[in-house]
């Protein structure tokens, strides 16, 4: 029901915007009419311009933001729906898979050819039975990463109600849910996922997005042919081709620690390289932003004996107390359909904030410790999360950066995330007096190029948390034995002696990568991405220092390097410090995203181990990625 004056005001603004579009009022005219400031901000009409997406920020006193400014998206009532929990995927038997069990091959290069998986082989049954055997591949017989768990994910068009006040919104999604299902995987238990493209034919026009997909497991230590390389998109079953008649792609995740070729660790790899909070998302060349915004992202968590998911090892909160949350933003039209500005190269912002696919939901918790895995799927939104009880920002424990456990838990009052970064936190609700708190986003951002740098207080409430009664809690308390802000021990870093690492790095060969704007697009080292140009050809087993630069301007770039984690050595000349946030993030850790601030220069230590093939590095403001801010590097 849309009856309040606020709703009517919102509709009026929408109408104004529509009329301006119809009247073909251009920017100069709008400035002349006094609707635009010189800085490009729309005056009092936040909903009017594609450039002003996301300016209508809800506040605690005005949670749907209709009081202060007029949103472009239709109004909603916040906190009336529960936050959805992710659907946990169950494995299937390979012989029960659609179109037969995996045959050891996978399509690549736009499904124009098919190649064998590098790290497992398939032998068909000799007795005419339903399934053959999986074993080591002839090319790499030393390593047996034969899949033990098999999953099927269907890419499909679906309609989802993101809010009770909204009509259903059309998405492209994995298994018809946004975010896609959670795959819980274990180290030492290789997985094969069959991604089945059942989207509408690519010949059917879409508002935005393209129905060919390539899924990247961010940031898996994944063989190249299963990495979701931007050129490895494949067709829908509705567009069969001779190479891929049934429109699916098998992707192999060995779930092995990095370093498995190093005799020091043996074929299981180095446990200190463990990843925990991963996610998967589309990576189609030129179309990543459109497809991710259309719903193509989901969750993948990895466990081992330390981070066990069952209360053993480090005894982190597990099961119902381990909650991944994907925060993203979107803009909706009057029919509650997502709007993507195809003609905006800076980055796309929305004015509605979603947690696990629901606009401003609530979450009921018990008075004990929880682990939240915070994701930022973008396309272009930065976040700075705090917990707000109406008066204070409450302390909590940060335990990971980019889904990699820190050496120790660190007590903080906020965490800042660029697009694609992950942070795992532990919140001890038994130590919170309030009965209700909010996840508030405090990063001010007025355009898609990045946050302004200003931290808002209290910021935008996105998730309401209602705290119930006390329960017994068998998880470890990060505060036990804490010294200052440094809490319980978690996982050692692969190179614990940072001084030695710095000394080693000083002697290594280095490459410089400059992320810059030019020629109306986004470049690396003055060049735009060309998938056939190998920008760095690196012998397997090498170690290098990469110097990542943002030479200026008003933008920031979350730079993502596929395949291998990195260690940041210096930011702007200064060595990074343990257990210390800089710009709201901890740099002394393993990362797969370098959050490049304006004018930053960072030096990172990279290893290139284990597998050969093509990989990429790109800006994970995916609008920038699609406008060519990407390079290809190969391990040879």
């Amino acid at each position: 029901m849309m009856t309040s004056w606020k709703d009517k005001l919102a509709l009026t603004a929408q109408r104004n915007r529509q009329e301006i579009v119809k009247a073909k009022l251009d920017r100069r005219e709008m400035m002349r009419l006094g609707l635009l400031t010189a800085g490009g901000t729309l005056i009092a009409k936040a909903g009017l311009s594609s450039r002003a997406y996301g300016q209508a920020a809800p506040t605690l006193t005005d949670p749907d933001a209709t009081l202060g400014r007029v949103p472009a998206s239709p109004p909603i009532r916040p906190w009336i729906q529960p936050m959805p929990r992710l659907v946990v995927k169950t494995p299937v038997n390979p012989q029960d898979m659609d179109h037969g069990c995996p045959d050891g091959t996978t399509p690549i290069d736009g499904a124009t050819k098919r190649i064998p998986h590098q790290y497992f082989s398939y032998t068909p049954p000799t007795d005419g039975g339903p399934v053959g055997t999986y074993g080591p591949s002839p090319a790499n017989p030393t390593y047996n990463f034969a899949p033990q768990k098999f999953y099927e994910l269907e890419m499909e068009e679906c309609y989802i109600k993101v809010h009770p006040d909204y009509a259903a919104t059309r998405f492209f999604a994995f298994d018809g849910v946004v975010p896609g299902p959670l795959i819980k995987a274990k180290y030492g238990e290789p997985v094969l996922v069959r991604y089945k493209n059942k989207l509408p034919s690519v010949k059917i026009p879409q508002d935005f997005g393209i129905a060919e997909m390539t899924t990247h497991l961010h940031n898996g230590h994944t063989p190249s042919e299963s990495d979701g390389n931007p050129v490895n998109y494949f067709n829908s079953i509705k567009d069969p081709n001779p190479v891929n008649p049934f429109g699916f792609k098998d992707q192999h995740y060995p779930n092995v620690y990095a370093g498995f070729r190093d005799p020091q660790y043996g074929p299981a790899g180095n446990p200190n390289e463990a990843l925990c909070s991963l996610w998967y998302h589309d990576h189609h060349l030129d179309f990543t932003a459109q497809n991710v915004y259309k719903g193509m992202f989901g969750c993948y968590n990895l466990f081992d004996s330390l981070d066990s998911g069952d209360g053993t090892g480090l005894r982190l909160p597990h099961g119902a107390y381990d909650i991944p949350i994907f925060f993203h933003d979107a803009l909706f039209d009057r029919n509650c359909q997502t709007v993507f500005d195809l003609f905006n190269l800076d980055g796309i912002l929305g004015d509605r904030f979603l947690a696990n696919g629901a606009i401003q939901p609530y979450l009921n918790v018990q008075r004990c410790r929880y682990r939240f895995r915070i994701y930022a799927p973008g396309p272009s939104r930065w976040w700075e999360w705090s917990l707000w009880d109406g008066t204070n920002f409450l302390p909590f424990w940060q335990i990971s950066t980019d889904g990699n456990l820190l050496p120790n838990a660190v007590q903080v009052t906020s965490v800042r995330l660029a697009v694609a970064e992950r942070v795992d936190i532990i919140v001890d609700f038994s130590k919170i007096k309030a009965n209700r708190i909010y996840f508030v986003n405090r990063a001010e951002q007025v355009n898609g190029r990045g946050p302004t740098g200003k931290t808002l207080s209290p910021g935008t409430p996105v998730l309401q948390v209602n705290i119930g009664g006390a329960v017994s809690d068998d998880s470890a308390d990060p505060a036990v034995g804490a010294v200052g802000n440094v809490g319980m021990k978690l996982r050692d870093l692969p190179d614990m002696d940072f001084t030695a690492l710095q000394a080693k790095a000083a002697k290594l060969p280095s490459r410089v990568w400059r992320f810059e704007r030019g020629s109306g697009g986004w470049m690396v080292n003055g060049k735009f991405f060309d998938e056939n140009v190998v920008n760095a050809s690196i012998p397997m087993g090498s170690e290098e220092v990469w110097v990542i630069q943002n030479p200026g301007g008003s933008w920031r770039h979350p730079v993502h390097i596929h395949y291998e984690e990195h260690r940041m050595l210096t930011r702007n000349g200064a060595a990074v410090k343990p257990a210390t946030q800089l710009n709201g993030a901890i740099d002394y850790s393993r990362r797969d995203v370098i959050n490049l601030q304006t004018n930053d220069e960072t030096r990172v230590f990279m290893r290139f181990r284990d597998m050969k093939g093509r990989y990429v590095m790109h800006c994970h403001n995916v609008v920038h990625e699609d406008h060519a801010m990407m390079i290809r590097w190969d391990i040879v």
Binding site: T12, L25, S201, D207, N241, R334, D341, S519
Partner: protein, 205 residues
């Protein structure tokens, strides 16, 4: 809706806006489903443009509609990136061969329309060996500015935006009937640019 220009146009818009502000409940009553359309004549407009051979065309209906398009902005007096870019596009035209003109249209729009008359454009097109499927367009300054904004060749910083050289480095690639849009750098190597064109065209099997 007819398009008008000059002072009256501005006045009309101003009056319209006041009227809209005074009628806050009109839309709620109309119940009409409206979207922010980034398609069709409504978005891309039918402003009049002139080709290098002097023909007058409506932009959406006659230039864009139903076509696979490569659209870029340039101006003949630009001596920095434009010559390289136009040369690069000429090589793309060669690679695409007869497809340019058949299924694909290349559209280069002048950012200095007052200088770049059809005659100037014709000479420029000839210099670069532009074939029949490659249009060089000029028109009224305000109309061209409108097209530039609609096609997203803009910068959020008005000072940067005022510099025409900022808008000449990229090519929009579109499959208009499919509503599929991508962008590539104009100086991308020609073979890669052709691959980008092919990606917006569904492969028929």
């Amino acid at each position: 809706m007819p398009i008008r220009h000059g002072k009256n146009w501005v006045m009309d818009r101003r009056m319209f806006f006041v009227a809209a502000a005074l009628a806050p409940f009109a839309l709620a009553r109309s119940g009409k489903a409206e979207q922010l359309p980034q398609s069709g004549a409504e978005w891309f407009t039918n402003v009049e443009v002139k080709t290098q051979d002097g023909r007058t065309l409506r932009f959406y209906d006659d230039v864009m509609k139903g076509k696979i398009l490569l659209i870029n902005f340039f101006y003949t007096d630009c001596d920095a990136i434009c010559p390289l870019m136009t040369e690069n596009l000429a090589r793309v035209q060669e690679l695409l061969g007869h497809r340019v003109g058949d299924e694909i249209r290349m559209v280069s729009i002048s950012l200095q329309p007052e200088h770049d008359t059809p005659e100037v454009l014709a000479a420029y097109a000839e210099t670069y060996g532009a074939g029949p499927g490659w249009m060089f367009l000029t028109g009224k300054k305000d109309d061209i500015e409108l097209l530039r904004h609609r096609l997203g060749f803009v910068d959020i910083d008005p000072i940067v935006d005022a510099d025409p050289e900022q808008h000449v480095g990229t090519v929009r690639i579109a499959n208009e009937p499919m509503h599929r849009w991508a962008m590539t750098p104009a100086l991308l190597n020609p073979a890669a640019l052709v691959r980008a064109v092919n990606r917006v065209i569904p492969r028929f099997t």
